[in-house]
Subunit: 227 residues, 2 copies
């Protein structure tokens, strides 16, 4: 393995950690926004962070393609790079979803609803942790941590179902206004999707370590067979 | 261009059309399911179609990677293949969303709500047409058709907002039960997301024809620069 290749692989790790941190920031800020903190300044910050995430995706995509095309990596290194390409696409979508939550926050005037009646903060914290841990798992090659993230998704799914039930209950009692209730449901759904993306990331990390992906296909291994 | 390469590019077109048809089928069936037709048999068919879409994605992914790695395409051909790789990822998500709608259909017992009070069918028809036209645009290299699909997304977004408003109104009047209302909102949201994926597909087709992507990055063109 050339010195340049080793250096570029290290650079890839650093760039992925940076992209992961941006995602964590976007999720945390969007949880605050939906609970009525920060007003339009905070919402603006979330949109900025989303743009930084998009730029970071392009940066990493370029780095990976250069590595693939010029260094001809094999086995574990090839899997790492293929996994990174898939992971950034999930991280980019996490950024989109944080921006979608920020958008919804503009319309929720009765902020007390999200703070007191429906507690969305726990769900947001769980997804932030899942994203952090999935990137950590990649950098450290930690299979156990991958599996923890994959298992933790049940908690987020349960939280979404609880919020949905609770919302149906309060809406049937005529409080809050249904349009706010519908917005809160959408926000909870975005957090649930963020959890799904963290699981996708963890599954790609698992693939980069073991060579097996849970979807059952061996993915990129097929592409690079010699003719 | 080798004869084999021409043949494989034609095969790629055929495979993409097949994947597009599977998506149209999945969307149409899920629109029926959410309106109370077909019961569990129909829901089962949607899940089967989703699996076929996933298998088709892997098939096309393999074909594209073989083309990239063994034929070393340049310029327009390279862009076509890169665009195809991005398009199938959007089509795969369309399949997921159709399956999500099928899942929701199981819980909506008061089917009359979706048929009479909230008409989701028009929204579904619009998204089916958008998907068909975006694949058509790829095969024919039709830039005008791409732009039509991109413009049509406004209709789907408006339809989602109308459904949301209408739902808030009927929920505030205490009919239907809020939990059904929340499920209908989720289904409408999935159709709206399908429209977004059709737009993504059309934008990649536009890129494959013009070399410019609306996101502002020149994407894959960067990767293949000579060192």
């Amino acid at each position: 393995m050339s010195e340049r290749f080793v250096r570029q692989l290290e650079e890839l790790h650093v760039e992925l950690i940076t992209m992961g941190s941006l995602c964590e920031k976007a999720i945390s800020l969007s949880a605050k926004a939906i609970q009525g903190e920060g007003g339009m300044t905070l919402i603006g910050k979330i949109f900025e962070t989303e743009k930084e995430i998009d730029a970071q995706e392009r940066e990493i995509e370029n780095l990976c393609m250069k590595l693939l095309l010029h260094e001809h990596p094999v086995a574990g290194d090839l899997r790492s790079i293929s996994a990174a390409l898939k992971m950034i696409s999930d991280m980019e979508r996490i950024g989109d979803q944080a921006a979608d939550i920020a958008d919804l926050s503009k319309h929720i005037e009765d902020k007390a609803v999200t703070g007191d009646i429906i507690n969305i903060r726990k769900m947001a914290e769980d997804t932030v942790r899942m994203v952090t841990e999935s990137i950590d798992a990649f950098v450290k090659g930690d299979l156990e941590l991958c599996r923890k993230v994959i298992d933790d998704d049940d908690k987020v799914d349960d939280a979404f179902n609880d919020i949905k039930e609770k919302l149906a209950e309060v809406l049937n009692n005529g409080k809050p206004d249904a349009s706010i209730g519908l917005d809160i449901l959408m926000a909870a759904k975005y957090f649930e999707r963020i959890g799904d993306h963290a699981v996708n990331i963890a599954e790609w990390v698992e693939y980069s370590i073991t060579g097996n992906h849970r979807s059952g296909s061996s993915h990129t291994d097929n592409y690079f067979v010699e003719e």
